[in-house]
């Protein structure tokens, strides 16, 4: 996080320099799709096999602003509406989890070690502010590196566990077979997601360009204190898009 702060400071400094020298400003709009996952850093040992993975359709639209403060360098920011999500189906062994259901007496839950199959559906919508340092050479490519801060607008984090059994509380607790049990962790997704991003644009014509961005969230997906999944999840997504630059 410290590094991110430094980067932002540096970019802010650069921004001011540009404003003073009055270099060229460009505007662009971009649309794209994201492919990726909310994933633990290192697949935990309780996950035995990924049976299926579906990136789904995760659209992005962005309005961008670019400043060139020197021949080779510039910076870029914008406002982006994006969706990050996926559906996975995994085979797990002794996977520590909680099934919960809102009831009249509040949230009721069963916690324990589940062995069987777990399906996870994630679809989070964010309003994102990216900030990039850009590098321009004489080729058609522009390279970008920086960070992003996202605000959660709408979210879904749900799924089910099936074809297995749970051991109540501990691995030696009472065994209960499970045909299908659903869970919903939507309320436990963090409002703010921030991380690093690198990417490149490739100019197709004087107006059109295609872009690829890889972003990795340094902040965990779930709130601190969330214990229903015993490993941290981080967003990692590749965004591919097409844009139009105004002159």
């Amino acid at each position: 996080m410290k590094r991110l702060h430094l980067l932002i400071l540096f970019l802010a400094f650069a921004l001011e320099t540009t404003a003073q020298t009055g270099k060229k400003v460009s505007l662009n709009v971009r649309a794209g799709v994201s492919i990726g996952a909310a994933t633990p850093v290192g697949i935990p040992v309780s996950v035995r096999k990924i049976e299926s993975y579906n990136p789904g359709f995760q659209p992005t639209v962005e309005a961008g602003l670019g400043y060139r403060f020197s021949a080779k360098f510039g910076l870029a920011t914008g406002l982006r509406f994006e969706q990050k999500g996926m559906t996975t189906d995994a085979r797990v062994k002794a996977y520590y989890t909680t099934f919960n259901e809102a009831g009249s007496n509040g949230n009721e839950s069963v916690t324990g070690y589940f062995t069987g199959r777990v399906k996870t559906k994630i679809k989070n919508s964010y309003l994102t502010l990216p900030l990039h340092l850009t590098y321009h050479n004489n080729s058609s490519f522009t390279f970008k590196a920086g960070g992003f801060v996202s605000l959660l607008l709408d979210n879904r984090f749900s799924g089910d566990a099936r074809e297995g059994y749970i051991r109540n509380q501990t691995p030696v607790g009472e065994r209960e077979d499970i045909d299908a049990a659903s869970y919903d962790f939507s309320d436990n997704v963090r409002r703010v997601n921030a991380g690093i991003e690198v990417g490149t644009d490739y100019r197709l014509s004087s107006n059109f360009f295609i872009s690829a961005n890889l972003n990795y969230a340094l902040t965990p997906l779930m709130e601190p204190g969330f214990r229903s999944i015993d490993f941290g999840l981080h967003n990692i997504y590749l965004n591919l898009g097409i844009g139009y630059r105004f002159h």
């Binding site: 850093v41 691995p171 009472e174 209960e176 659903s182 890889l214």
Partner: protein, 364 residues
């Protein structure tokens, strides 16, 4: 270009997430099977999460040196070791340790003599450590027999609270005779029970065992009925009182149509066990061809007043009893009490209360 970007992305994703790790050592520590010489066993052992109970023929073994063999969760170990002789004149505590060494579970292993009791006063109760609920036991010639079972262990997983008094099956000091009686109350299973189509749990108590693992997926098969019995039963007698919780609701929690008041059920079944079908369960206990005789309360309506009433139910025989098989423990008996007659189908009324005391099987 896109291909390069994709490759870089996939490379990064793999670096970050890594590959599927080698399988960890097992954390579970279960006794899966207990084996004794066939001639010694009267009936297959029943195994719960923390106990193993088997009826054995005391004439055919030396109870002070019995050598059971155990099959465990893969990689787990057991103390005392499988295959070492133990004195089973009292239950023996075995400790199973998981393959990874981090988890231990104690089992109480009982070998019960072939003397089934025929009167049940519900004076002796013990708290099951797994779920914090009451279960009665019998004392036969000072031997502690865990022959009663209930659905409490199924309830424990989804129970909103885990006090002994919160469970459907418990004891009460409101007894017809002695200090305690059995007390069964139909309870709501809360939000979790509702989503699995089991909005209520009837209080139940029966001779046999409960397979808690099947409670949610095959509840009728979870109630395993019957203990070995070597006398010909004529009548089932006892004391009971019943307070109906009112209109019956169905699996979805809605009142059944036409409206019905909740009823209780009391019955006993004598059946001829076989190697293929050593026990009956909730799906066939009254209908299986192996059933020889049934004694059942004709009407489970609420009892009048606040006191206990006597019941005296005659066993109606469908087929003759073979005396030689009877004395060889080929027959089994099940006694079943339920605070909601259709509780097995999750139909009943929350708040139905059945008190049971002083039960006897009158034999020939």
């Amino acid at each position: 270009m896109r291909r390069t970007v994709l490759l870089v992305f996939l490379g990064t994703l793999l670096t970050v997430t890594g590959c599927i790790k080698p399988e960890a050592e097992n954390m579970e520590a279960d006794i899966l099977v207990m084996t004794l010489p066939d001639s010694v066993l009267i009936s297959p052992p029943s195994i719960t999460n923390t106990s193993v109970t088997a009826f054995v023929n005391f004439e055919k073994l030396n109870i002070k040196a019995v050598t059971p063999q155990f099959t465990l969760t893969e990689g787990a170990s057991i103390q005392p070791a499988s295959g070492t002789p133990q004195d089973f004149s009292k239950p023996v505590t075995y400790t199973v340790t998981s393959e990874d060494g981090h988890w231990k579970k104690e089992y109480r292993v009982s070998l019960l003599r072939n003397v089934a009791p025929d009167n049940f006063m519900f004076e002796n109760w013990v708290i099951n450590p797994d779920g914090n609920y009451y279960i009665p036991y019998e004392l036969v010639e000072s031997e502690h027999q865990n022959i009663w079972a209930s659905g409490n262990s199924g309830f424990s997983l989804i129970a909103p609270e885990k006090r002994p008094e919160a469970y459907p099956t418990q004891r009460t000091a409101d007894a017809a005779q002695g200090q305690y009686a059995a007390y069964l109350e139909t309870k709501s299973t809360g939000a979790l029970g509702a989503i699995v189509g089991m909005p209520i749990a009837a209080g139940n108590l029966f001779l046999g065992s409960f397979d808690g693992a099947k409670a949610l997926t095959a509840p009728l098969e979870a109630t395993i009925f019957g203990i070995p019995f070597n006398k010909k039963p004529l009548r089932l007698t006892g004391s009971y009182k019943y307070v109906s919780g009112g209109p019956v609701t169905d699996k979805t929690g809605k009142p059944v149509i036409p409206a019905q008041q909740d009823l209780c059920d009391i019955y006993a079944v004598l059946f001829k066990a076989s190697t293929e079908k050593p026990f009956l369960n909730g799906s066939n206990v009254l209908t299986d061809p192996s059933v020889v005789a049934i004694a059942q309360l004709p009407s489970g309506v609420a009892t009048s007043g606040s006191g206990y009433q006597a019941f005296d139910l005659t066993f109606n025989y469908k087929s003759a009893v073979n005396e030689a098989d009877l004395s060889a423990f080929a027959y089994k008996i099940a006694i079943v009490f339920s605070s909601s007659k259709n509780g097995a189908a999750f139909e009943g009324a929350v708040g139905s209360k059945l008190y049971i005391d002083n039960v006897k099987i009158v034999t020939q």
